[in-house]
Amino acid sequence: MLPNAKTCFYPRSPAEAFRILKESGPRLLILAGGTTAALSNDPKIEALMDITRLGHDTIEPIGTGFRLGCNVRLQDLAESAALQEFCGGMVAQAAGAVGSRPIRNAATVGGNAVQVFRWSDPPVAWLALNARFEIEGPAGARSLGADEFYARHPRQALDAAELVLGVRLERPEGPHAGAFSKLARTAFDLAIVDVAVLLLGSRESCQGARIAIGATRTLPWRAARAEERLRGQPLTAEALADAARLAREDTQTAGDARTSAEYRLQMVEVMVRRTLQQAADRLR
């Protein structure tokens, strides 16, 4: 219950939304799927703005990749035949790993990207694919790559009157394969560890790797030393195990109600190794 919310705006275009954002200031809460907002009791919120009616709700093929509108529901990503095929299906699987179907029916691409929690599943896929976030505000449009977008909390990357209107995915050039894994206690519990990887090249000679890890600390991150270990190398079981060990060594984490820090660390290594193996098996 947001006790002091008195009204709700329903902008029909981004321009209208920017105007409302500018006029209403910090007492306005932006609603997309609303699954987080509904649990808030923030007394400072005086007005709501439902942005789900301003368009940007389709998955468009663009070039060899896609543009995902901010208002596309996570369930639609999970069910997209094109995304199930794209880069090992990591986007479809990461979206499908969120909560349960009714939650995925509500939660949106944009809302999930900005309102990121430690256990959010899709951000590891955005990081592994180096997705670009299309940001727009009264001053114009710009875009940020996932590395920059998640370098600090995305709310800090956005100006007060800016919105994320879409996410661009480029298909990597040349042979590539991806994979996503989530470790959780039950089918719809929050993640203990999330991993998404993208491998370029071949099993004989890896031309590059992007390894993204989620749920271990506030924001998802890339295991840079693990990626470096694989570059230019054959993807042998030993190389993958080395990379997984490096990822574990670079993991900063803590325990919580679901798991101890020790277990999570152990599982980072296991999940990185398995996810790398899965992607490597998909390479020629």
Binding site: M1, L2, P3, N4, A5, K6, T7, C8, Y10, L31, G34, T35, A37, A38, L39, I45, L48, D50, T52, Q75, G99, S100, R101, P102, I103, N105, A106, A187, F188
Partner: protein
Amino acid sequence: MQIHVEVNGKRLTWEAHPGESLLSVLRREGFLSVKRGCEEGDCGACTILLDGRSARACLLLSAQVEGRRITTLEGLGNADRLHPLQQAFVDSGAVQCGFCTPGMVLSAKALLDRVPRPDEEQVREALDGNLCRCTGYKKIIEAVLLAAQRMNP
């Protein structure tokens, strides 16, 4: 604020607080099949259909349903005239305490509207957001498969 909404085919205007949950408003307006369970999106007892897709009434603010179409269990059938899904739940012994049943039936309806003859895996997936503490799910899954068979022979 005033909220204009279509519930079970009827156009309604509610006087509601925009920051309160849809669950509170629905129950106040008499739609008591929408159960107040965990109130944090885990249990599925408050499942409704929003524009035909399953949703959590407890995770929606009332303002979000302006201009939208809601289906609750009251819109499916009643004691004299059961919906085929409800009849199948009865015939399969899929109801014990009954608290999760409205949500189960609505999640199943959303599935059958999309996939008229689902297999068991699809039924399990469609019910992934509905917890039942009595039945162990087996008879619920059987009920949905039975209803599908009767509705789309």
